[in-house]
């Protein structure tokens, strides 16, 4: 399923809308061949009676999926925000250490943040479970931060703050990785597709009964089903596909720290 959700927007759109249109054309042909002219009035009326139910079911299913997947995307963005905030707090806290230590901690933090955006993000798209360079850099950063705990010259307020903010970074990263491994619930998606196909079939039966003037309504339904399915697939993977969680906050923070914005001795620039 992940290969599908990682396709880019144009391909997804072509696949879903094209798929539904092809299905509709095939179904229309089959209905014209299978259902004789004299029976179309009856089948059309029966199909019309079920259209409301099918439409509602399709709307509920796709609405649920879109809402659920969009929530996941927002959650991923929030987690990135929390991770960046933790990293920012760590940079601030380190400014209370002697300058050589401040510089060291912030350099290690920049290395981690750069690895996250440059190496870990692309990997989350391809293989979220694989070990990344960012993990090693976070280990180095953790070792460094915790090494200040027992040092007599490092104020305990500073080391506590550094450890707390590092815990935030570590926890957020882990949550981010967990989200990256989550996939679109396949049964629900399949059910949506099946409902969509039923809805299209029903719309075609109604159109056959009422004539070509109502074909536009059926075409609209075909497109809506295609767009809905595209939307579900597009937002379903927060680190792949057309709607991905942005690395911009991470890159921006790394840039700020690297250029010295969090160093106490450049504060008055």
């Amino acid at each position: 399923m992940s290969w599908l959700t990682s396709l880019n927007g144009g391909v997804l759109l072509a696949l879903c809308v094209g798929g539904t249109v092809l299905f509709a054309l095939a179904m229309l042909l089959a209905l014209i061949l299978v259902i004789p002219q004299r029976s179309r009035e009856g089948t059309g009326m029966t199909a019309a009676a079920y259209m409301t139910v099918l439409g509602s079911l399709f709307a509920i299913l796709t609405g649920f999926l879109i809402n659920s997947e969009y929530s996941t995307l927002r959650q991923a963005q929030n987690i990135v925000g929390i991770e960046v905030a933790g990293a920012s707090q760590l940079a601030y806290a380190s400014a209370s250490l002697p300058p050589s230590d401040t510089s060291l901690v912030q350099a290690s933090l920049v290395r981690y943040l750069t690895s996250v955006s440059a190496a870990e993000w692309p990997q989350l798209e391809v293989d979220p479970g694989a070990r990344s360079r960012a993990g090693d850099d976070l280990s180095s950063l953790s070792r460094l931060v915790f090494s200040y705990g027992p040092r007599p010259y490092a104020p305990s307020v500073t080391t506590d703050a550094m450890q707390t903010s590092l815990a935030t970074v570590t926890e957020s990263r882990r949550q981010r990785l967990v989200i990256a491994t989550q996939e679109l619930p396949l049964p629900l998606f399949v059910l949506s597709v099946v409902t969509g196909m039923a809805l299209i079939s029903g719309a075609l039966l109604v159109a056959l009964r009422t004539g070509p003037r109502y074909g536009l309504v059926a075409a609209g339904i075909v497109l809506i089903v295609g767009f809905d399915l595209t939307a579900i697939l597009a937002i379903s993977a927060p680190f792949a596909g057309p709607f991905v969680t942005s690395t911009e906050p991470i890159q921006q923070l790394a840039q700020e720290i690297a250029s010295g914005d969090y160093l106490g001795w450049l504060g008055s620039r």
């Binding site: 927007g9 997804l12 002697p98 050589s100 595209t230 450049l266 504060g267 008055s268």
Partner: protein, 430 residues
Amino acid sequence: MRAVPAIFILVLISVLLTACGGSTPSAVTGCAPDDADCVEVGIGEPIYLGAFLALDFASGRDTLASVRLALDYLDGVFDQNDGQLLGHDIALLVEKDECNAVSGRIGARAMLSEPGLLAVIGPTCSSTAFGSADQVLSERDVLLVSPSNTAPSLTDPDSHQRTYFRTAFNDAIQGSVVADFVFSRQQLTSAVTVSKADDAYSSQLAATFGVSFTALGGTVVRSFSLKPGDARAGVAQALQADPPAAIFIALQTPDCGEVAAAIRRQPSLRDSTIVVAEACQTEDFIDTLGASATGIYASGPDFSTVQADPFYRDWYLPAYRQLTGNDPDGVFGPSAFDAAGLVIDAIRRTAVVLPGGVLRFSRAQLRRALLDVRRYAGLSGSLTCLPTGDCSEGARIAIYRAPDWPIVRGDRATPVFSQFKTLAEVGLTN
């Protein structure tokens, strides 16, 4: 049903926009590699730094040990193994400073044979820097950060070289504090100065003392300017007939020890107060004078401030002892650690890291990075780098009375006089 086309359009637009989006910010590549200002450090290549220090003197060895400690601490631990900077080793090119202008030029040119050289820590002596190493290195935009040059002319706007900086205090401050001590504390109104001719450090320190002493109301009754062939005992002989109240010896070892010993041997000069400067605060001086060193005053950085710093006391000092096997043998070790720290910080802030770990530096940006430094809480005190090259905006200068000198008593040395002055207070900045 009218809403249906609108929904189509919205979904279509958003999906197409995202499909077309996803652009990444363009890579920052920094300076052009063929630019003379640009230094590129390839994969596996070291970052070149220089140490231009007077290794024949205790202060030179002391500052070199501190620079080595700064490099050792690049990985956050003092383990006698140099850490890496931005994933690259540091290659430290060490040149010997022989405390004269000729060695300044020769040493600077020798280090420039490495085109990747980014910065030099040193030199030890002001005379090596002034109009010599500072000029040669400035012509090539290589940073020169001295931990122990104190001559005022090095940071005088008229003679300052643009890539020259120092973490050591300016002797305008030391001369002023010594004058305050002699005139206000000791209440002595006449003094003699002894300096070395053609030595930027010595002659300028004696001169700044003279200016401050005179401004307070005192009189410099005589100024000796020793030339290389002059007998060091000549000062004592010249003064025995008319002993001054105070003698300020602005010389370096071993000259100051020899002059002070000769003065001490003259019975008529027994009551004269002798003050020597920080360049004489060495074990050599104490060894040369033995018991007769007792009572001689020495000016220099106030170590009580440095020793109160827990990083210095609990972390740096044990590492120093482990590296050298003894206590610091000079007063500029903390300044050297800070000089290296400032250079490392500037390198970290200005490096452009290219894919694979290649580093690119602009020499102009490195210099600007030093000029951005404000209130850097260094081991030697708060550092703010001014366009004139002074990074120590103020200094607490202490007067110690032998044998209670930091070099002898270490942590237990207590100054008899201590004063903090800023460059502004001695009229060097606004």
